[in-house]
């Protein structure tokens, strides 16, 4: 069970359960009445990769491909691949036996590199000592829905009778006002929500729906406003 430590508008906090809402694909690819396995396999060897063959055959590359099938190594091709370990090759093609230096590269919207910096490890912050806060910034549901792209929705669930009352009240307030409220992490509630170490930061908008004594409290996550992208020439 995944959890969120959430504080309401009266600064009362509780740790409750959350679940991602997911869509289950309604079909699978196959052949009728035949059991199939989806497998990964070796389709080339290093010596048969395009750049090596280009170097080897130069201008006669195409005719060699037709006549001799040099791109196929019959001993190796088709070998199934199961487990693998990640390794890094240095610029001279040698295997590195010590971890490489990691650098974070910032890329502008037009694809240009803007900056290089040392990477920072960013911890998750939704089930932390500091609760995720109800910021009080409310937005009509209709306005939020057309101005933000909500890539994920998380359903917030109670874990006992007390948290049922706690969440029901939140959902009812939001439902009655037909608004969504921005929630945020950190000391002041201004930080984006991060669900997993080094995970994608999201802005969280809480939506409430009520039907009699039943409720739905939904945390919609967005990392993108619905804004037009200006056409830019990629360098």
């Amino acid at each position: 069970m995944r959890r969120i430590h959430l504080m309401n508008k009266d600064s009362r906090d509780a740790t409750i359960a959350i679940d991602s809402l997911k869509y289950d694909k309604p079909f699978e690819m196959g052949v009728p009445e035949k059991a199939l396995n989806f497998r990964r396999y070796l389709s080339a060897t290093a010596a048969n990769l395009n750049h090596n063959l280009t170097e080897q055959y130069g201008d006669n590359y195409a005719s060699h491909l037709i006549e001799g099938d040099p791109e196929i190594d019959l001993e190796k091709i088709g070998q199934f691949i199961s487990g693998t370990d990640v390794v890094y090759l240095g610029s001279q093609g040698e295997i590195l036996y010590a971890p490489p230096k990691t650098v974070e590269v910032i890329i502008s919207p037009n694809g240009e590199e803007k900056e290089r910096r040392d990477p920072e490890n960013i911890p998750a912050n939704v089930d932390d000592e500091l609760p995720v806060r109800w910021t009080g910034k409310k937005m009509p549901k209709a306005s939020a829905a057309v101005n933000f792209a909500f890539k994920r929705t998380i359903q917030v669930r109670h874990v006992d009778g007390l948290t049922y009352d706690y969440l029901y009240e939140m959902a009812k307030e939001l439902h009655d006002e037909s608004v969504m409220v921005l929630i945020g992490a950190g000391q002041t509630g201004k930080d984006p929500l991060i669900f997993q170490a080094n995970g994608m930061p999201y802005r969280g908008f809480l939506e409430g729906r009520v039907d009699g004594k039943k409720y739905q409290l939904l945390l919609h996550l967005s990392n993108m406003e619905l804004k037009k992208v200006k056409a830019q020439a990629k360098k």
Binding site: M1, R2, I16, L21, K22, Y23, P26, E28, M29, G30, V31, F38, R40, Y41, L42, L49, Q79, F80, I81, S82, G83, D85, V86, V87, L89, G90, I95, P100, T102, V103, E104, V105, I106, I107, K114, P119, A142, A145, V146, N147, F150, K151, R152, Q155, R157, H158, V159, Y164, Q196, N198, G199, M200, K214, Y215, Q216, L218, M224, L226, K228, V229
Partner: protein, 200 residues
């Protein structure tokens, strides 16, 4: 150029050009790269678990195999439901007029969004424009190319312009007092899509 998106609301038509957008096109992006002791970029590879093969980018493929390890070509594969019934292909919707339904924003909020397009209107009837300006959203089936499942598209208008959100609907559960979330000790795999792999 891709075919346009054509919609029809109560007999009136709207035609739009479309461009796919994402977060990195709007705000940029970041990625982690790895440098060798000379400060040059490393190449990320894999070593097979028996240690015999160094696997570089472009050296692998994936596909379907039967129990006798015969490869099944893609053109022999069909879409099937989970009872094994063969499904009919849903046709592509681009360039083909689609009847739209007017919906409230709650159904849009229940969409698990996979892709986003910004739209340039070629021709939009006033009645469509005014429905969108009143805060309604329009939904219709969307299939970029013929396959076994059409997704759901929501067309909306904000002060920046027209946008189309494509995805599949999810169903939140109504919670009552008795439905208390319980601890599950199964491996929780649903965090997978939280990971921003660019950051490793």
């Amino acid at each position: 150029m891709a075919k346009p998106i054509i919609i029809k609301l109560e007999g009136k038509t709207g035609i739009f050009e479309h461009t796919k957008i994402n977060r990195s096109k709007l705000y940029g992006s970041r990625k982690r790269i790895f440098l060798d002791p000379l400060g040059e970029t490393c190449q990320r590879c894999e070593l097979s678990d028996d240690g015999s093969t160094l696997i570089m980018s472009g050296m692998t493929s994936q596909g379907y195999f039967d129990d006798d390890t015969n490869w099944i070509p893609n053109n022999e594969l069909v879409g099937m439901d989970f009872k094994g019934n063969v499904l009919e292909k849903a046709p592509a919707t681009l360039g083909v007029e689609q009847d739209v339904e007017v919906s409230g924003v709650e159904s849009l909020l229940d969409l698990s969004v996979d892709s986003i397009y910004q739209l340039e209107p070629e021709e939009v009837h006033e009645s469509i424009q005014s429905a969108l300006e009143s805060g309604k959203v329009l939904n219709f089936p969307f299939n970029y190319r013929a396959d076994y499942h059409a997704e759901t598209a929501y067309l909306l208008l904000n002060k920046e312009g027209y946008f189309l959100l494509i995805g599949n609907p999810v169903e939140p559960q109504w919670m009552d007092l008795e439905q208390i979330a319980v601890e599950s000790f199964e491996e929780d795999s649903e965090d997978d899509d939280d990971l921003d792999f660019e950051m490793f």
